[in-house]
């Protein structure tokens, strides 16, 4: 029982991060049908910027929570600008191009961002300075830290904010309209370009928050960290039904929990034949099995016949 509860807690933390990143993929996909491969790299840049800000403010005598807050804020702002420029420079000129063209552009941008990060921050692992003093809580044999509580709480807050934005504001309405039918939406006076740019900006902001969480949870960062994280988050988005916001959140948390449980129990399940280094396999096996039975993801609508 102890391990079960423990793995559930760890999975929830990881899942909250996946969910935030997955939202970035799903928002862009829902509106323009593009797999934004560079999104994982945006998350990585978010982590790196937060790291730089926190390290440079660490000796300034400010209270640690304030330093963290400033780091988060600047990282969110930088990523928003990055997301906006990505859309503007790389993807907007390709609207109406064959479907695979923007995909290759996205892959190219992801390489560019990765290598820019490597030039700026070097090719070694970066250690995050611990800003919050860690407290460890024990409940029913399982332990968790205040960092984990903060991650889950912040993720819940951000996601509620996003739901409010999408369902209760004019911008949100415009986004939903564009996702349904861009032509008709533009006839109704929706500025399509602005809506698409906003999807990128908001998605990148969520990614930056997730990036800061990853940094403070694992306490290390690396210029290649965005790749696997982005891949997992994209898997989560597809698992939930890509283009569906609630699906991305559920998919992210589900994926995190499955991974944690899988890593904890794979040895017992297979009689020690497979060890916990197979952790990364779970995400993909679950994905394949789910899509076999629900080809549009858990909460996705049936997609049209456009291949």
């Amino acid at each position: 029982m102890d391990t079960l509860l423990q793995q559930l807690i760890n999975g929830l933390t990881l899942g909250a991060v996946y969910a935030l990143v997955a939202l970035g993929y799903t928002m862009v996909y829902g509106i323009i049908g593009l797999i934004n491969f560079a999104h994982g790299e945006v998350v990585m840049i978010g982590t790196m910027v937060a790291f730089t800000v926190i390290v440079s403010l660490a000796g300034s005598g400010m209270p640690p929570l304030m330093i963290l807050g400033i780091g988060l804020l600047i990282s969110v702002l930088v990523c928003m600008a990055l997301g906006w420029s990505l859309e503007r420079v790389a993807y907007r000129p390709l609207r109406g191009a064959p479907r695979l063209t923007p995909l290759i552009t996205a892959i190219g941008m992801s390489m560019v961002l990765q290598n820019v990060a490597m030039i700026i921050w070097g090719r070694n692992y970066i250690t995050f300075p611990p800003m919050i003093e860690k407290h460890i809580f024990t409940v029913g044999g399982a332990t968790f830290t205040n960092v984990q509580v903060a991650i889950v709480t912040l993720a819940a807050l951000v996601m509620s904010g996003l739901i409010y934005l999408v369902h209760r504001t004019r911008l949100g309405m415009a986004m939903r309209a564009t996702a349904q039918n861009p032509q008709v939406a533009s006839l109704m006076g929706v500025d399509i370009n602005r809506v698409i740019a906003m999807a990128f900006v908001i998605g990148s902001a969520l990614g930056a928050v997730a990036g800061c969480m990853v940094g403070s949870y694992y306490e290390i960062a690396h210029y290649q960290m965005g790749f696997m994280l982005g891949l997992k988050a994209f898997t989560a988005a597809v698992l939930g039904g890509i283009g569906n916001l609630a699906g991305a959140m559920a998919g992210g948390i589900l994926l995190g929990v499955i991974e944690a449980l899988g890593a904890g129990y794979i040895g017992q399940l297979t009689g020690d034949f497979l060890g916990s280094h197979y952790q990364d396999i779970f995400a993909f096996i679950v994905l394949i099995v789910v899509l076999m039975f629900r080809p549009s993801g858990l909460f996705g609508e049936r997609t049209g016949d456009r291949a």
Binding site: L100, G108, V238, P295, R306, A307
Partner: protein, 358 residues
């Protein structure tokens, strides 16, 4: 119909061009050797990637199925060769047994992946194939315990070169006073294989199956309504693409003498896909061009960047390795920006794009 006439005639009409290409192909390994055997190896990889890209072209370009895990089949072929012709298991089967076996096993893997997933559409298929590729790589990385099958991350070494009787592709032989090195021999083998896959691609394009693929690519429901067995035809595309991947993997194994899971990362799949799309999806000359450019560009940059920085700044300012990949990524973005249908798209596709733009 016009296209069909055009593609079947060029052998007779353009015999000059064919002769010229033949001469260039013959000369390449000897010219490259002037710069060192490293350049011959680069030429070999360019041809190997032509082979792989044309294999993937069947899946992505003809049938329109976005496959992001193509490298899995390449890996299967490479490991089949490595396991059956190395001291790892003490097996040393001849290549003409292993290559077909590798192709067959890769083909089975292709069908294993395809059968349950082909009802998925578009991007869902893409992510499942991607996941499949990662699963294969993770297994290759970890199947060294409890039974050591793949030797884990260390990979398998001392793989036999391709050998026919006493004629080994690994050492230098002198023919008519000309010394032909190992990599140069592999070059000619690869060219022969590439010509084979080009012919298969051309023949497929205008066959009944090729037209069925095209119909599925354009509109699956309509294709089904016309009596095409879409499931089997899609499965066939997957299986054929996978077999080519398997053969390429076998040759890769023999040529390198060493395989490890590192060679079969997702990035490799993506690079091969980029070759297909960047060159011009579904158009054979375009795909060939894409494969050669994307293999050559990073290498040229590798040798070009250091001296250039020295000349301009007088010292190394930026790490050449990351600058190289940065330029590589940037050029992918730029090509797609200015030639959205690829560098050398098929005339038909260009027409369609021009129509839809108006």
């Amino acid at each position: 119909m016009n296209d069909q006439v055009k593609t079947s005639v060029p052998w007779q009409r353009h015999w000059m061009a064919v002769v010229l290409i033949g001469v260039v192909l013959l000369a390449v390994p000897f010219v490259a050797a002037l710069g060192g055997q490293a350049w011959v190896r680069i030429a070999n990889f360019a041809i190997l990637y032509v082979f792989l890209a044309l294999g993937l072209n069947i899946v992505v370009g003809y049938a329109g199925l976005l496959d992001l895990g193509y490298v899995a089949f390449y890996a299967v072929g490479a490991y089949v060769y490595a396991l059956l012709a190395s001291p790892h298991f003490g097996l040393h089967l001849p290549f003409w047994v292993i290559l077909p076996v590798g192709a067959g096993i890769a083909c089975i893997f292709g069908m294993l992946l395809g059968a349950p997933t082909l009802k998925l559409r578009g991007d869902y298929l893409a992510i499942v194939t991607l996941g499949f590729g990662e699963i294969i790589r993770i297994f290759l990385n970890n199947l060294n315990a409890p039974i050591n099958v793949t030797n884990g991350a260390q990979g398998i070494t001392l793989i036999d070169p391709i050998r026919i009787g006493d004629f080994s592709f690994a050492d230098t032989t002198t023919v008519l006073g000309v010394a032909i090195s190992g990599p140069q021999k592999y070059y000619f083998l690869l060219v022969a294989l590439a010509i084979m896959v080009i012919i298969v691609n051309i023949r497929l394009q205008n066959s009944r199956v090729g037209r069925a693929w095209q119909a599925i690519r354009e509109d699956e429901v309509a294709a089904k309504a016309c009596g095409i067995n879409t499931r089997n035809i899609k499965l066939l595309a997957f299986a054929m693409g996978a077999s080519f991947g398997g053969i390429a993997g076998g040759v890769f194994s023999a040529m390198q003498g060493f395989v490890s899971p590192e060679s079969f990362s997702l990035m490799e799949s993506i690079t091969i896909l980029a070759m297909v799309v960047l060159g011009g999806m579904g158009h054979i000359p375009g795909v060939i061009l894409g494969a050669i450019l994307l293999t050559a560009l990073p290498e040229v940059l590798r040798y070009g960047i250091e001296p250039l920085q020295q000349a301009v700044f007088g010292r190394m300012i930026i790490d050449p390795e990351s600058l190289r990949m940065l330029i590589f990524g940037l050029s992918m973005v730029l090509v797609m920006r200015f030639r959205p249908a690829g560098l050398w798209p098929s005339p038909q596709r260009r027409r369609e794009l021009a129509e839809s733009a108006n």
